[in-house]
């Protein structure tokens, strides 16, 4: 009798074990072709879309970028060694996540040095603002950058700034600088954004390349794109003003209800193209992601002007006919295929030689821009041979705005 009861108990225990073993979701293996090491993240994350066409899950898998324990089916353990939490592109961990000579920390010549460039870029170092404010309050003798959001160096400097020490509020004594450190360091690439949907973005590469518009608070998004909408730029830009007087950030108070109002300059004037296009339709990679040098001011790196596309009264814009099938312009167009760019096509280039691959000069000589985000096709004209009398040396936007601003 006792033995029968015991046997029954054992059977129940065994059945429980069988039930428990069958209960967790069946493991879903994935062997990314890049790493060749099987990982089981898809067991839970099978519903995630490819993060981008350039990073298909079948090739990259998850662990190459995110880290984590590839074999663990326990969520806590699997996630315990992930890089940068949900965002492996945070600049603190970007090198192991996105780096590698075939990936984004490769040779300059191969145009694969994104990580090096971004880390020295003004959007990451915030060196311009830091230097300007410290200079304004007499803490440093000139506005040349000394400190950045983090320590960074540039062994082959062209700007005379070989390295930046980290800006450390603990070493500052001037009350305004201390206020600055409390109130004004929310917009560099490593900074957590201010609370509020309008500021909502990730850090690192994802700050720009992962659109966060309209996402629910803390909702994760698995997207990387080079078609960065102006709304993403607007999570930092056009959000208000930093006031030197009280060393505080004053958010804009108006209700933006249209493309034009999305831009924020109380006294600003804009031409049509500035609020029809997205920022990246004109502004280039080196302006946004840096050119590898450490700069002391945004003005040193931002160089695209009206004339870059429109030319001046004396000169047409610079063009280039694509001959090399490996041309960077073709690579960029392939990543964001809003136009079918081919060898033999003629595109505009900037005075620094950066391709404006979305702006073609057609066979009839006319110019045509395709919106990188909107995909709109927008023909436009040169300044040459028009009635414009603008001095070629005065091409900063505000000169053009005097005639071409749109009323608002």
């Amino acid at each position: 009798m006792k033995r029968t009861l015991a046997a029954l108990f054992l059977l129940l225990a065994v059945l429980t074990a069988v039930w428990a073993n069958g209960r967790p979701p069946a493991p879903i293996p994935l062997t990314p072709t890049l790493t060749g090491e099987t990982e089981y993240c898809l067991t839970c994350h099978n519903d995630l879309p490819d993060i981008s066409a350039a990073h298909p899950t079948a090739v990259f898998g998850c662990v190459r970028c995110h880290g984590g324990e590839r074999l663990a089916l326990d969520a806590d353990l699997a996630h315990s060694s992930m890089r940068g939490g949900a965002n492996p592109s945070d600049l603190a961990v970007v090198e192991p996540s996105c780096g590698g000579s075939d990936c984004h920390s490769g040779a300059v010549s191969a145009d694969r040095d994104h990580i090096q460039r971004v880390q020295t870029s003004i959007q990451a170092t915030y060196a311009g603002a830091i230097a300007a404010v410290r200079y304004a309050f007499g803490v440093q003798p000139d506005p040349a950058a000394q400190l950045g959001a983090f320590a960074v160096q540039d062994t082959e400097t062209n700007t005379g700034v070989p390295y930046l020490d980290p800006f450390n509020p603990a070493q500052e004594t001037h009350p305004s600088i201390l206020k600055f450190s409390q109130n004004c360091l929310n917009c560099h690439l490593s900074a957590d954004p201010l609370p509020g949907g309008e500021y909502d973005r990730f850090t690192g590469c994802a700050a720009c390349h992962t659109p966060t518009q309209n996402r629910a608070p803390d909702q994760l998004t698995h997207t990387l794109t080079t078609a960065i909408p102006y709304t993403q730029c607007n999570t930092c830009h056009n959000r208000g003003n930093y006031s030197l007087r009280d060393m505080a950030f004053h958010p804009r108070t108006d209700e933006a209800n249209g493309r034009l109002q999305d831009y924020y300059q109380p006294i600003g004037q804009f031409t049509q193209c500035e609020w029809t296009l997205d920022c990246i339709d004109c502004h280039t990679r080196s302006e946004a992601m840096g050119d590898g040098d450490i700069h002391s001011s945004q003005a040193d790196i931002q160089y695209v002007q009206c004339r870059t596309c429109h030319g001046t009264i004396n000169e047409p814009p610079l063009t280039k006919t694509i001959t090399d099938p490996n041309d960077i312009a073709l690579r960029l167009a392939a990543l964001n295929p809003v136009i079918d760019l081919q060898v033999g096509d003629t595109i505009l280039v900037t005075e620094q030689g950066e391709p404006m691959w979305n702006i073609r000069q057609l066979d009839d000589g006319s110019l045509q821009l395709t919106g990188k985000v909107t995909e709109l096709t927008l023909p436009f004209s040169r300044v040459m041979d028009t009635a414009c009398e603008q001095n070629p040396d005065e091409q900063e936007s505000h000169f053009c705005h005097e005639c071409h601003a749109v009323e608002h």
Binding site: A7, A13, A17, N21, Y40, S81
Partner: protein
């Protein structure tokens, strides 16, 4: 019914009062059962475990999460090991509190103490085989204890670790000790221990003339009870292993930053607590050895037990031993929980 091999492992009859569960607590039998479970589940684990620094934690994860019933096997091995240590201690305390250590069983008590030490080493070496972040500092601090022994320390460390730091050689050595070296010793001493139990006349009981209750339990009944107990123990172990997974951590990493907290495995928490007092050799080696020595010395305490009191709980003539036992156990318990 003609007696089988298993019947032959038992004496034809044993004294009934001492065979009762309330007397033995079933601890010795349970220890045998758990040891066998460990051998079987350990053998199964060997089919997947990879004793290299790069492969160890991964293979443990594979076993735990991906191999069908692999997690169950690992949990069984883990819980059987923790259980073995606990029932061994219970067994020892029972022997000390019921006078089972008295002559002629003194030698067997020492064999048992040796088994306890082996079990602790087996437990620690098995714990280390995880080779994940969870065991890292226990491994570093635990092995550095050896280095702290004056004179022979550094040499002994190298003998144990095969290098100057935990690395591939150390892992393969822990593996060899865990799955073979220590097991070999454990089996030899264990069989010796069981042999001595019969040789010394079974579970300790007063000499026949002094017994009040002369009832005896025949071995076929004993075997039947053991079978039922084993079935129940298996079921309980399976249930525990199904619902309480063994600890596991991310693979040990060269680049991991220092942690703010590091805990020894539970059976060494008392040593970790002692070590907070200072000198590593004194608190980490001498004191634990002294505890072992104290336990070994208990059967030598005079006066020796009155024969008629052997085999019953808390015999009057063994008060000193009982107080010392409870004192040691309580102290260790408090240090562990601190």
């Amino acid at each position: 019914m003609s007696p089988s091999f298993f019947h032959h492992l038992h004496p034809p009859t044993i004294p009934k009062p001492q065979a009762r569960f309330s007397h033995t607590l079933g601890a010795g039998g349970l220890a045998v059962f758990l040891s066998l479970t460990l051998l079987v589940t350990g053998a199964l684990e060997m089919f997947y475990y990879v004793p290299t620094p790069d492969g160890a934690a991964e293979s443990v994860q594979m076993l735990t999460f991906l191999v069908p019933y692999g997690g169950l096997v690992r949990n069984l091995h883990f819980w059987a090991a923790q259980g073995l240590l606990i029932v061994s201690i219970i067994h020892m305390v029972r022997v000390l509190l019921t006078g089972g250590y008295a002559a002629p069983r003194r030698f067997n008590y020492w064999l048992g103490l040796g088994l306890l030490a082996l079990i602790i080493f087996l437990d620690f070496s098995g714990y280390v085989l995880r080779w994940d972040e969870g065991i890292r500092w226990a491994l570093v601090a635990g092995t550095n204890l050896i280095k702290a022994i004056p004179g022979i320390g550094p040499g002994a460390y190298r003998i144990l670790m095969g290098g100057d730091a935990p690395g591939p050689a150390a892992l393969v050595r822990f593996y060899a000790w865990h799955i073979f070296g220590l097991i070999l010793l454990f089996i030899i001493v264990g069989v010796w221990h069981i042999f001595r139990v019969r040789r010394d006349g079974g579970i300790a009981a007063p000499p026949p003339k002094l017994r009040q209750n002369r009832e005896r339990l025949p071995r076929n009944e004993l075997v039947r009870i053991e079978v039922v107990a084993m079935i129940v123990a298996t079921a309980v172990l399976i249930l525990i292993s199904t619902f309480f997974p063994a600890p596991i951590g991310p693979a040990m990493s060269e680049t991991a930053p220092p942690t703010a907290e590091a805990r020894a495995p539970w059976f060494f928490l008392w040593v970790q607590q002692l070590l907070k007092n200072g000198d590593a050799f004194f608190w980490g080696v001498l004191i634990p050895l002294a505890v072992l020595g104290l336990l070994a010395a208990l059967p030598l305490i005079r006066p020796s037990l009155a024969p008629e009191e052997i085999g019953s709980w808390l015999p009057k003539s063994g008060r000193v031993v009982q107080i010392a036992t409870l004192g040691i156990i309580l102290t260790l318990l408090i240090l562990t929980l601190l």
